[in-house]
Amino acid sequence: MIALLVRDIRLAMRAGGGFGLGLAFFLIAVVLVPFGVGPEGGLLGTIAPGILWIAALLACLLSLDRIFTLDYEDGSLDLLATSPLPMEGVVAMKALAHWLTTGLPLTIAAPVLGLLLNLPESAYYWLVVTFLLGTPALSFIGTFGAALTVGVKRGGLLLSLLVLPLYIPSLTFGAEALRRGAEGMANTVPLLMLAGITLGTIALLPFVAAQAIRINLR
């Protein structure tokens, strides 16, 4: 299965592989906010946690439909289904590859963008913590959505309609934990909930997504 992970990361790195896609979108989305909301530091600082989380969420969403559709179209999904690898393992590796090529770079880039939004000093630590805890869930939920819509032509829009509501718990807890951390309040409860959701998705969704893929390959 590691071979699949390595292959997917190499594919993402290659030209047109979409590695920089999520990162670039995240940058652009955050940079746009002051033009829309106004440059006034105080306001930006208070809404920065929410903006960063929403931008990260949309950046993850962007690169979801590449996860299975490319393999579906060139036939490798059929071959993977008949290979010794369990489909659950294939789905988990695909989600992990998506996180490594999208979620992780976002976590690394987020503090820099926090500066642009005048994020309070105490928040940077929590920014990285909430992103580390939360973005894997975005990848696994997104992979489940991609598995559902793999057979659908131009399924990108449908994918976002299906996946965005599933992101709401992670977004709420992630932004809340970050906001409380920024104001120095105790944020252990939202943090634990965020981590709980992520662990839940990692543990359960690959099985459901694998079943969806099998159904779509029929």
């Binding site: 965005l164 939202p190 459901v208 079943q211």
Partner: protein
């Protein structure tokens, strides 16, 4: 997993054909009087004034909106476990009704909220969970439309319904973390002390029963159409094959 277990659409069609006229009559007999009674005769409430009359739409529609999704969840489980075609088609038929009821609950809640709380919309845990439910309904219906093969569509929408329910509950719990909440407590809860004075209680129960019957009638009516549409698809598929 998609073995063609011999479900029995014909038996369903025959029994519902007999039931439909009775159901329509029963719905009319309960829904119309319920609404009329609440609209014309319920007195003014101290804190709400006459706007309390909106309760006869807001509460029943909210009740149906939630229970329609639960019914769809159960029907999806029945489909995945027992491969019973009619139950998944009933879930597909119930979605637009649930969507409309959620919309009615949101609209009446917003219109009613305007004089009470001074704002059309408040990001209150209860209201937002209805908004989230609305999006789930949209996603469910969109997934049905997006997939041609009826069996695949049935399997995938059932999976989405189950996973969606878990996340809907999570969202409901997540929004409880927000500090303020404007919405009243449950105005009709079985265990807690009576929140609604008796004079409003009876018409409210009647209109809820009316809405439930309306839901059942519409679901059966739409399921019959879904069964026919599914047969049409099966015949067309066979036409292409021959």
């Amino acid at each position: 997993m998609s073995i063609w277990e011999y479900a029995n659409p014909k038996k369903f069609m025959e029994t519902t054909a007999r039931l439909m006229p009775w159901l329509v009559a029963l719905t009319a007999v309960t829904l119309i009087p319920g609404l009329v009674w609440g609209y014309f005769f319920s007195p003014e409430a101290e804190n709400f004034g006459t706007s309390v009359k909106i309760i006869y739409l807001h509460v029943p529609s909210a009740f149906i909106a939630i229970n329609a999704w639960i019914m769809m969840l159960v029907a999806s489980l029945i489909w995945l476990v027992r491969r019973h075609h009619v139950s998944v088609l009933a879930a597909k038929a119930a979605a637009p009704i649930g969507l409309t009821m959620t919309l009615i609950a949101l609209i009446t809640g917003a219109i009613w909220g305007q004089p009470m709380w001074g704002t059309w919309w408040a990001w209150d845990p209860r209201l937002t969970s209805f908004l989230v439910l609305f999006i789930f309904y949209l996603g469910y219906m969109a997934l049905w439309e997006a997939i041609e093969n009826p069996d695949t569509a049935a399997d995938l929408t059932s999976i989405l319904c189950i996973v969606g329910s878990v996340f809907a509950l999570l969202s409901r719990y997540a929004t409880l973390f927000w500090p303020q909440g404007l919405h009243q407590d449950a105005s009709l809860s079985l265990d807690k002390a009576e929140h609604v004075a008796d004079v409003y209680h009876r018409p409210l129960v009647l209109s809820i029963i009316g809405f439930v019957l309306l839901f059942i009638t519409l679901v059966l009516y739409r399921t019959r159409t879904e069964v026919r549409a599914r047969r049409l698809k099966a015949l067309q598929a066979r036409e292409r094959m021959a």
